[in-house]
Amino acid sequence: MVASLTIFILAIFIGFELITKVPPTLHTPLMSGSNAISGISIVGALIAASAGDSWLAAFIGLIAVILATINVVGGYLVTHRMLEMFKPKR
């Protein structure tokens, strides 16, 4: 628990450091990209969905898998679409 909390707090600091370096031009793609990262709960969703000990948990987990996958796949794809537009043409 203490170890997890330590990791949590350190990661927040890294987050602050990284994000303050992102220029305002990229704030929208940053947002949709980090939004896709928050879909990491897909890991928990997969674990829950494959639960052998409770069919209800597995079913709810499956709903979570679908929701998280929308978040992840859609989020990364739309971020990619935006960033491609920022590439210098010519």
Binding site: G33, S38, I40, A64, T69
Partner: protein, 460 residues
């Protein structure tokens, strides 16, 4: 041994997420950054599947989610990006509610206080995120029922009571071994709270709300990480949480308002009545024509375009790009001054201009361009209003007092392209329109720009 290897590989995934965000610090490396981040996600998913095994219905879930995600991401217009981000955010939040709920239903889940606390938090934050995001989506999509901020009678009191009840329930759930019923109650109350928190917030404040909800979705994922004791969730969740907080701060600063004021205040529209009336302010407004503007531009050396959300509504980005190209061919320097809250989410305007192939190095930030504004020959304000209103720095009682603005009033000539003299979100008149160096071109943004382009070509 096997478990240790898997956990080590999760660490690799977490590091890749960090590098992905690091590459986002420059437009040149940002595409790579997003791919690295996506790779980190894929790695995390594959590792999890190694542990859980691949059931047929899990594949079905992944495929269904992917199809929906791809369709949404491909079909969306860039102007609608804030809605989509809000929607995805909501799905992420909802996923954490279901994950924590499913974990609580499993007989093997530890019912130690720390796990229960984390589960309660992910349920609460996730539910607030989901419903708050849905309401934000409705507002941004301008669904009829969300056209106006929804006033809830004694809303602050009701919200405060709900927060108190939530805290009590969380404490109870942490202490009690039995968790399913309190969890359900937490999710239900947090759902109501998500709606009542966001519903009264006005359209102009949506950039802050989206940034904040973005932060919540990350924190919910981190809390879920505590439930299933997985570090990659904790790390990436807190990265997103931090990201949302930083963006929220930037947005609040750009509007010179505190977060508390945005969430609980609403914009003080009543204060508008204290300022001078619109008729008085607009007594000396001079209007102009596209032909005159073309002549003024002909004599200019440095032109700055100030785009607002009105430009996107008029779909004028491409016309603006054509105008800029035309001017540049005549040796005129053209730049764009971007206010942080131009558009409907942080950086939205930059995306809209990038879509029209306007190079990002021509987009100048407000703080960057303001000191040089007095050397600008012509400033063209297109669909922006409050962000160029000098009242922000002159009248301390104005609702936008202290908000940083782009000082187009310092330019030699200001051309404001606007349909009418109607006020912006703040609901106050803009004395810039009547300034000695300002000319109004009353027209639809796109048509006005096209007319100017035609006029320039005819003169040449």
């Amino acid at each position: 041994m096997y478990d240790a290897l898997i956990n080590l590989a999760y660490v690799v995934s977490a590091i890749l997420f960090i590098f992905g965000l690091k590459f986002m610090s420059h437009p040149r490396t940002a595409v790579k950054g997003n791919l690295v981040s996506a790779g980190a996600m894929l790695l995390a998913v594959l590792l999890t599947l190694l542990v859980t095994g691949i059931g047929a219905y899990i594949i079905a879930g992944l495929v269904i989610g992917s199809i929906i995600g791809v369709v949404l991401a491909v079909k969306i217009q860039m102007t609608e990006m804030p809605q989509l981000v809000a929607l995805f955010n909501g799905f992420g939040g909802a996923a954490t509610v279901f994950v924590a709920g499913a974990e609580l239903l499993r007989p093997n889940t530890a019912t130690t206080p720390d796990v229960l606390l984390a589960a309660a938090l992910s349920g609460m934050i996730g539910a607030v995120t989901f419903w708050g995001s849905l309401v934000a989506y409705g507002k941004l999509q301008e669904l009829p029922m969300f056209k106006k901020p929804i006033e809830i009678p004694s809303g602050h009191l009701i919200n405060a009571i709900m927060v108190m009840v939530l805290l009590l329930l969380i404490i109870f759930m942490t202490g009690a071994g039995y968790s399913v019923l309190p969890y359900l109650l937490i999710v239900i109350i947090a759902s109501v709270l998500g709606v009542t928190l966001v519903a009264p917030i006005g359209g102009a404040d949506m950039p802050v709300v989206i940034a904040l909800l973005n932060s919540y979705s990350g924190l919910a994922a981190a809390a879920t990480g505590f439930v299933i004791e997985n570090n990659v969730l904790i790390i990436s969740g807190s990265l997103v949480g931090a990201s949302g907080i930083v963006l929220t701060q930037i947005m609040c600063k750009a509007m010179n308002r505190s977060l508390l004021n945005v969430v609980f205040g609403g914009l003080q529209s009543a204060a508008a009545s204290t300022g001078p009336a619109a008729d008085e302010v607009y007594a000396n407004v001079r209007s102009t024509s596209a032909d005159d503007v073309a002549m003024i531009l002909d004599a200019a050396q440095r032109v700055v375009i100030v785009p607002g959300y009105g430009l996107a509504v008029a779909q004028a980005q491409h016309a603006v790009r054509d105008l800029a190209t035309l001017l540049e061919e005549q040796g005129i320097e053209v730049e764009y001054a971007i206010h942080p809250v131009a558009g409907r989410m942080p950086g939205h305007m930059n995306v809209l201009l990038a879509e029209a192939d306007i190079p990002y190095d021509k987009l100048r930030e407000m703080d960057d361009i303001n000191p040089t504004m007095s050397q600008v020959d012509v400033a063209i304000v297109l669909g922006a209003n409050d962000v160029v209103n000098p009242v922000a720095s002159t009248d301390p009682h104005s609702p936008i007092a202290g908000m940083p603005i782009i000082h187009v009033d310092k330019a030699r000539t200001v051309i404001v392209i606007k349909r009418s003299l109607s006020p912006g979100f703040a609901g106050i008149p803009n004395p810039l329109f009547a300034a000695d160096n300002a000319l109004m071109l009353f027209a639809d943004g796109k048509k006005a720009i096209l007319d100017i382009v035609t006029a320039i070509k005819e003169n040449a």
